[in-house]
């Protein structure tokens, strides 16, 4: 097994179920990610990541590999132009683990092409998205102007 390229961790004062829902519910992702995540979230299904603009611009596509609510979600992750090229899809794993009164969210991103635009984009993106998610769930306010 090759080693993951990026591992991001945040501790959020919430329940695993609320956090799970915040990853999948487009009305929630719209608030802290400024994008809507859309899928039926069944293994094998596709998922989409669309900007909350007038056109709902498609930004990312992929497939649901594993969905074990409220603990583990594995997705493939690609630019829409690479939708048909599965060898170019990267992989994101969300792991939710309750620790006392808080929940640890670990996001692992791997299978990224070295030097790719996607790699640069996710490096900038994940810390913002996760800080914004934590802020929304803990104080009811996401970070403004993420992108």
């Amino acid at each position: 097994m090759d080693k993951p390229q990026f591992v991001y961790v945040t501790y959020i004062s919430t329940s695993p179920e609320t956090l799970w829902n915040a990853l999948l519910d487009p009305t929630m992702t719209a608030q802290y990610w400024q994008h809507e995540n859309r899928s039926d979230w069944k293994p094998g299904s596709t998922w989409e990541h669309r900007a909350c603009d007038d056109k709902g611009t498609l930004r990312l596509v992929g497939k649901v590999i594993e969905s074990s609510p409220p603990r583990r979600l594995v997705l493939t992750w690609a630019a829409p132009a690479d939708a048909a090229l599965e060898e170019k899809h990267s992989r994101v794993t969300f792991e939710i683990e309750p620790i006392g009164e808080v929940v640890r969210l670990t996001v692992t991103h791997d299978h990224l092409e070295p030097g790719s635009e996607m790699l640069q984009a996710i490096k900038k993106g994940w810390p913002k998205v996760l800080s914004s998610l934590k802020s929304l769930l803990e104080v009811g306010r996401p970070l403004p102007r993420l992108w």
Binding site: V7, T106, L143
Partner: protein
């Protein structure tokens, strides 16, 4: 202790050796303890101790791969510092400049 408080993050960052360790992980993510010792020219004991502090502050995340423990730079708390201690101050500066501009243009 849960690595949630910002004091812990600032304390962890208040050491040149630990900042160097973070830079080493930024250059190459997912290193083992052995690799870090070689790349940092520090004793195993010192690196272990610093890694413990960084992990406690959630600046380093670890995962196990077989017998190896891999260390990853976790920039999420640094982003929280940025949001709390940089963006907010910047915003005040920008607002002050805007007010100054309004006054100057109105005069």
């Amino acid at each position: 202790m849960l690595p949630m408080d910002m004091d812990g993050v600032f304390r962890a960052l208040a050491s040149p050796a630990r900042r160097k360790l973070l830079d080493t992980l930024r250059a190459k993510n997912g290193q083992t303890l052995g690799e870090l010792c070689t790349n940092l020219d520090m004793s195993r004991q010192a690196v272990t101790q610093h890694l413990g502090r960084l992990e406690g502050a959630n600046l380093v995340a670890t995962i196990r791969r077989g017998r190896e423990k891999l260390h990853y730079l976790n920039p999420v708390p640094i982003h929280e510092i940025y949001e709390r201690w940089i963006v907010q101050y910047e915003r005040q500066h920008l607002e002050a400049l805007r007010d100054l501009k309004r006054k100057a243009e109105g005069a």
